[in-house]
Assembly symmetry: C2
Homo-oligomer: 228 residues x 2
């Protein structure tokens, strides 16, 4: 499907038909999700495709029983595991570097990233150093703390979510991104770690008539887009 057609087709669907979603449709969309850009290529995202009927039932409950989950053919939970940075950046360091960038990559993944993503205990010190430097010259201000790191990882995971949803639309199926869920229960159902955050639950299926609640609604463009 043409890109802009997929963007137009994608709507949040609250009620699905009983048409199954082929496995290859899900896998193709998951592969597209993994191709989204992400912060420092640290790939701290995780995509949990909930297929076991018992777990799916629990997940619908954790999504407050809403129709978008209850009638879904498939459920995908997207979460972040910030500590994955250690494994992923080590893997990058161990692999062949782009020609001419070997030193730069070593510096970035061997020194800068461990200082940003790790050493959380030094967060207040990092804050002082970088905000101090920032008085004199342009200096990145994030992510130095646990909280900033979560924000950075959530942002990257969201880029992957959008790829996933558009990829499902491009293959003729529908999605609904849900944030109305009980995060504690979702984490316990999936055995996620305490440092993990659930980004969203995405349901997948084929829309029925009135599966979409109404025409698309957006405020006036000039509330959101500025030329400066």
């Amino acid at each position: 499907m043409e890109f802009f057609e997929a963007v137009q087709k994608r709507r949040s669907v609250r009620k699905y038909s009983d048409k199954p979603v082929p496995e290859q449709v899900m896998n193709k969309a998951l592969d597209a999700a993994l191709l989204a850009p992400n912060s420092s290529n640290a790939q701290t995202w995780q995509f949990h495709w909930v297929r076991t009927p018992a777990l799916k039932k629990k997940m619908v409950d954790a999504c407050l029983g809403q129709g978008a989950a209850a009638t879904a053919q498939e459920l995908l939970v997207v979460s972040i595991k910030p500590n994955l940075w250690k494994k992923t950046t080590q893997e990058i360091l161990n692999s062949k570097q782009p020609e001419g960038l070997e030193k730069q990559m070593q510096q970035y993944y061997g020194k800068l990233i461990p200082f940003m993503y790790g050493m959380q205990i030094l967060a207040p010190l990092k804050w002082i150093i970088f905000n101090g430097m920032g008085l004199f010259k342009a200096t990145p201000r994030k992510p130095w703390s646990l909280r900033d790191r979560t924000e950075t990882c959530v942002k990257s995971a969201a880029l992957g979510c959008e790829n996933f949803m558009l990829a499902i639309a491009a293959q003729g199926f529908d999605t609904c991104p849900m944030e109305g869920f009980d995060e504690s229960r979702v984490k316990s159902i999936l055995n996620l770690g305490w440092g993990d955050t659930v980004v969203m639950v995405i349901s997948v299926g084929e829309r029925v008539d009135r599966g979409v609640w109404g025409p698309r609604h957006r405020g006036p463009r000039d509330w959101f887009v500025f030329e400066v």
Copy 2:
């Protein structure tokens, strides 16, 4: 361009040619950004297209002078303004509601959203109420605090960013999402409010040879995708 082709084509480009990006290419991508799903349709995102040469120069400096900014034809700053929820949800309440959902919409936008997005001073109380309820039944845990609200808004804005970047790719141009910038300086250049957060700076142009640093690199799929 076909959707999956756009996903494959999109790479983070660090060096652009001097080919200008037509205005309609930018506008079409901005329109696509505004069609991304977003939390409660509160549309708390803002897209600042930096066109004035003097501001652009300052922005390149705030992006630490990196090539992806310095050689860019266009720069877009994406930020969130969480307080926009008041204006956007009022506008939704004032408009025609989908048939049969009038009461539900009134409840949601008139009561639930003001309680979630507003009344920040009650955050600790809200936390106690909802985590208390959560002991007995599935209960949404976010966004009750300022911090949660920021996370929610950043997440939605990121969905819009991905639409924008893919839309640029689908029109034959390139982008680079940057998080290595001085947020304080970016906010001051654009006169953003204290409650605003800069989500990312996206540069736009046409890639030159070696504008992309190397082949795409991702860790093994089974670190990120799980069937449960």
